[in-house]
Amino acid sequence: MGQTIVEKILARASGKKRVSPGDLINAKIDFALGNDITAPVAINEFKKTGAEKVFDKERIALIPDHFTPNKDIQTAEQVKLMRDFARQQGIIHYYEIGRMGIEHALLPELGLVLPGEVVIGADSHTCTYGALGAFATGVGSTDLAAVMATGELWFKVPHTIRIAFHGNLPPWVGGKDLILYTIGQLGVDGARYAALEFSGSAISRLDMDARFTISNMAIEAGAKAGLIPPDEVTRKYLTGRTARPYTAVLGDEGAPVAEEYNWDVESLEPQVSLPYSPANARPVSSVAGTEIDQVVIGSCTNGRIGDLRQAAALLKGKKVHPRVRLIVIPATQAIYLQAMREGLLEIFVEAGAAVSTPTCGPCLGGHMGILAGGEVAVATTNRNFVGRMGHPESRIYLAGPAVAAASAVSGVIAHPREIGGGDAR
């Protein structure tokens, strides 16, 4: 019987010929990640294991990105704890502001996570690297501590749900719309414990930026991982940036899966997820005209160069609506520089946007754009739960960069075609 990508990767990592959904295994970890919220807890727990040295100082990344540049004394102390630990252990992949980026944009950019690998991160959006064909999943701080100490972790082998998108994407429809639509169809727990596997002609044609957006939000359907089979696009992306040799893994043709969906994208509209659930996905036209106070373009979901290009194509020569605050946050230092070279930052600033150094910031209601009670935001981030961006009575509409930019100009939620401009996809 054939095996899926996930099964093959986990079999390799646990030294077995094959594994089946439901099996409990102990897998060797190729790469592990922690941030300024989760790593301090993990470091504390690591010390309790009795281990003196981390399993491999080249296979751990500690990235302070959530509350950095440090927003208060407590944050500064947490980051100091990470920094001291990284220095003392000789951990190579520790990046401070000025050199850092939002973890899930930074790790692929640096070639630290690769096809066929098992990657864990003490952050739920670690599933982002599934876009490279890795088994990447979010865990807790204690799990990260265990991995830092032993290089291994237990897993239950997930079943696979295959999602195929067919056809040509209409203008203004991209990776974010596909994943919001998927979550809308499956529900926030529709893929609980499962690995999502995305395929089909519409996926094959997407660049890596759009693919990362899709895998990033697999967790929002409850999934453990969200994989895209590696192909030529993946290989090209990795050329020149891989830090280690890798072996791409593909699933067997006809490998049995738990569920399979086939969706046509040709008539798909840009999607918006209404408060307070990413699963409340609707076509943008159904909420067009909703008044907004703030727009955030950034995050590990949509803070990449492709996203900024799309937003800039719409904002060029236009002004942000007087009632709206637009915050643009390139996800990494390299993206920031690229956007600067391409003149995108100038377009944003001229339009009246605030452009920030890379940070998670407002995405989790940390800092840099907190919402007041009753305020409404359109955000290219991934969660619109109660209180996610600030006051529990604020409301977040999730969307892709095109809808976000169009809405910033219009002052209300708007379809990108309404403000003109070209589709930069």
Binding site: I37, G50, G140, D143, R383
Partner: protein, 166 residues
């Protein structure tokens, strides 16, 4: 001592980690501080009214969202002795086992137990008894491997013992 006893506090489906412990409090991992804000965005009065031993009963997908271990830590530090839900989100489930917060999956118990009821739980048998009505429910048992981790008081102890044996 595997018998837990306490009063029930009920919550709905898809209680997310931002509701359990909002990110605005994540600049600390001190359990005592986290406990003060436990469940704040789901029920702002929860932290003030919960008593040691009390039990959270929720619907499906409890603990969805972020991987923050601060969520089960806040619940544990608030004195909650066990969370019963129809189902748990994957990372919350792992985290609870890893830090030694007892959790039980039972759709029946989740649907039947009402707020304010006195409940007794036998963790070893996965038996949940509603002392107010006399009805009992059985939870899905954990695989032996996870029971092993819990018996050692969490993943860190489990690893430390394994290391010492080598």
């Amino acid at each position: 001592m595997n018998i837990l006893k306490g009063k029930v506090w009920t919550f709905g489906d898809d209680v997310d980690t931002d509701a359990i412990i909002p990110a605005r409090y994540l600049n600390t991992f001190d359990p005592g501080e986290l406990a003060l804000h436990c469940m704040e965005d789901a029920d702002p009065t929860f932290a003030a009214k919960v008593s040691p031993g009390d039990i959270i009963v929720a619907g499906k997908n409890f603990g969805c969202g972020s991987s923050r271990e601060h969520a089960p830590l806040a619940i544990k530090a608030a004195g909650v002795s066990c969370v019963i839900a129809e189902s748990f989100a994957r990372i919350f489930y792992r985290n609870a086992i890893n830090i030694g917060l007892p959790i039980l999956e039972s759709a029946q118990a989740a649907a039947s137990l009402q707020e304010g009821r006195q409940v007794e739980i036998n963790l070893e048998e996965g038996k949940i008894s509603d002392l107010s009505s006399g009805s009992t429910f059985t939870a899905v048992p954990f695989p032996p491997f996870m029971q092993g981790i819990m018996a050692k008081g969490g993943l860190i102890n489990y690893i430390r013992e394994k290391k010492n044996k080598k």
